[in-house]
Symmetry: C2
Subunit: 439 residues, 2 copies
């Protein structure tokens, strides 16, 4: 057997704690699989008292900066979190000292991925991040290795369990966004401040990493279109269901003629698609490659144990000496990221107008769509029963909902048409739209 | 850049032809990803005339045995097929000569996996087989690497697209097995002699490989329980639907107290489960690990291009020098396979009896179940409308179907109870049973 691989963990929260427990309780099996001892030697956190299901006192270290560059470790596991601050400082210090790094920190990598990939390469170290995208689902490995022969056409996924839980509950129980968010908070699926999840930023960070893996481009940071789920109404969800769709918060990355389209937004997906059937806190990633066609990976996107499974897989790759450059090719081979304009996005749209109940209103709306060359696949205009969601508000305004599904058009045409419809004064509130993904 | 990796392909059918085309048309991209030239240098088949979408004349070789051990290649890709014969002989010759081997040949590996793993190890060569299980789905990599930190509790999957197509069509179109098989043959989804697929042998070979990957045991060959789909009736499928289940041909591998349970059989799975929703020719594999919980991988299980995607991933692992021992650990660390007796299998059962329409028949059947300590979760006994499938046959015999769902019991108790029910003479045909998988 070769020399032991010595591991230090910084940050013993949910993920770090589970990782420590996995490494300690399973040292023998992992060492057999790696043909080499794989050993936790140091663990570090501000909170020493919490129970992590395993006694870590023998591994305890107080100074995290000292740990990062310590001669006692070969691998620095960063499970502290946060885009910058101590996570970023310690990872840089570890890479600078030639340590391998394993991290679950999507925010840090989305922002600093390009710099850190170069830093790792310069010092001959590995920077692994399976746990940063879709938790326990081995999607980084699938893109970097399993589907390496393919030219990737599109990657998309449900990457945030909190949002998917809320949308699933809204549809199943006919509850509002606010009611489901409160429930998710009660169950521990959502933070007290849920902004990061429900506004789509967490999904955006993961999408940025998927993009670089899929297309070999430098990480985009926050140069990506992001729209969360806070404005999705029960009315939208029920209208989608009637039309054969479900609404999911997707992160989508695809190559277009004008650059890489990266977008996070509530999306109508056909009920018959695999992605439509992912319920609750589960995550799913679909990878569309030219040779393999479509592969869908489903599993837990969060949780300490599931994420620890990914962290340990990254450690094992290092122990086996099979780790790869961060995005599957040398850092110098990554191409600059060129963002495709969101206004150039092509696709179908669901449009919801609350039109005043008077002659000419609907004709004016339809006319604006026609002005912009937007063809309509379906139109539903009907009086709602008083018991329906929102009906009281609508009746009070003497207005009725009109929902339309467009054939493929561009984002620019839709936005301009909706602005004009609003200015025309036939609608009681700004029109809403939800993009449809052809699957 | 390092030395080129030189590849020879033996067998240019659907998979071999697509692999050759992928390697030739994408040499530059693959070389970038591997930081090393990856180059097809030889191709070989009995049929030289067929169009493979790429001109292979510059690579042509006539003698496959000579190719296997040739100094001109580093990797021997075996896409000939067949459990023994020329595939087996050339793979042995290639490994003996220290060549790496990539193969899609599940039949050969299920039978000779143990021997070939040792042979590869002895000569320091890699034997990769991602394409042998579930075609384009990177499940070998997921088990060997992505989920390496987990103790696997169970692996199961839909591993044969032909069977899944037939079962899907039977349910959707209310057709018989024979009708759907004929349709599958017309569409090229089933062979002229479909035995290998519909009797479950192909699924069994793949299950054997999943078992060794999941549990680190030596390959089981044909020492596995196999039952195909030829006796599944439309009646069974419709009864399953009424009870909230769908019928799928699953390959299942799990560890029990008495050994490894490996079984292939038609299985009732809850309609709400991920595996129940896999339609048509798609494959899916679910991996249940103690840390990650359940990961499901879905994608094309066959087809030239999708399978070539897996073959090329294996080649890239070799080019990157990241390939692993065949089952993720040294051949000497594989533990002997100990088969759990099928009679010891525990689970729920669907049971169908065609009971004579006379006093005491049903009581006798229920009594036999009680004798064996089998509790019933549901019982459906009712007169069928004359138009229902099989009703004429039943009416002619003055018999009516009785379907039962049992709570968990053992295979031994069920089999004995059903034998006694048949001997008691209250049924017009031998009772049938379908196992239920708790998911």
């Amino acid at each position: 057997m070769s020399e032991p691989l010595r591991i230090g963990i910084a940050g013993l929260g949910t993920v770090g704690g589970s990782t420590a427990r996995l490494l300690v309780t399973r040292e023998n099996e992992l060492s057999t699989k790696c043909d080499r001892p794989v050993r936790l030697v140091a663990a570090c956190d501000l909170d020493r008292a919490s129970d992590r299901g395993v006694d870590l006192s023998a591994y305890w270290v107080d100074d995290v900066m000292e740990l990062a560059a310590s001669d006692r470790i070969d691998v620095f596991v960063e499970t502290i979190g946060g885009e910058g601050g101590i996570a970023y400082e310690t990872v840089k210090a570890a890479l600078g000292a030639g340590k391998h790094v394993v991290t679950a920190n999507k925010a840090m990598l989305a922002k600093h991925g390009r710099e850190l990939a170069r830093l790792a390469e310069a010092s001959g170290a590995t920077l692994n991040f399976e746990a940063a995208v879709a938790g326990g689902i081995p999607v980084v490995k699938a893109l970097r290795e399993g589907l390496v022969g393919n030219t990737i056409r599109r990657v998309y996924g449900i990457l945030n369990g909190t949002c998917n839980y809320i949308l699933t509950r809204m549809e199943a129980e006919h509850l509002t966004f606010e009611e489901c968010l409160a429930e998710a908070q009660r169950l521990g699926y959502a933070e007290a401040d849920p902004t990061f999840d429900v506004e789509g930023f967490d999904t955006a960070h993961k999408t940025v990493l998927l993009t670089s893996l899929a297309f070999g481009t430098e990480t985009a940071g926050d140069d990506i279109y992001v729209e969360g789920i806070t404005r999705i109404t029960l009315e939208d969800i029920e209208a989608a269901a009637e039309l054969g769709y479900r609404i999911k918060l997707l992160g989508v990355a695809m190559r277009t003629d004008t650059g890489i389209e990266q977008r996070v937004h509530p999306t109508m997906v056909p009920q018959s698609s695999a992605i439509a059937r992912i319920d609750g806190v589960l995550n799913a990633v679909a990878i569309d490659g030219d040779f393999v066609d479509e592969i869908v990976l489903v599993g837990p996107g969060a949780g300490g144990d599931a994420t620890a499974s990914a962290v340990v897989a990254d450690i094992v790759d290092i122990a086996r000496n099979t780790a790869l450059p961060m995005f599957g090719r040398p850092a110098g081979e990554l191409t600059p990221y060129k963002r495709a304009a969101m206004r150039a996005h092509e696709g179908g749209y669901y449009i919801h107008c609350l039109a005043y109940d008077r002659p000419g209103a609907f004709a004016a709306i339809a006319g604006r769509m026609a002005d912009h060359g937007i063809s309509l696949e379906s139109i539903v205009q009907r009086h709602r029963a008083p018991s329906a969601d929102g009906a009281d508000r609508e009746a009070a305004r003497n207005a009725q909902p009109v929902t339309m599904i467009t054939y493929d058009t561009t984002e620019a045409e839709v936005r301009t048409a909706l602005e004009q419809i609003e200015r025309d004064g036939h609608v009681a509130e700004p029109p809403r739209m939800i993009r449809i993904e052809r699957l």
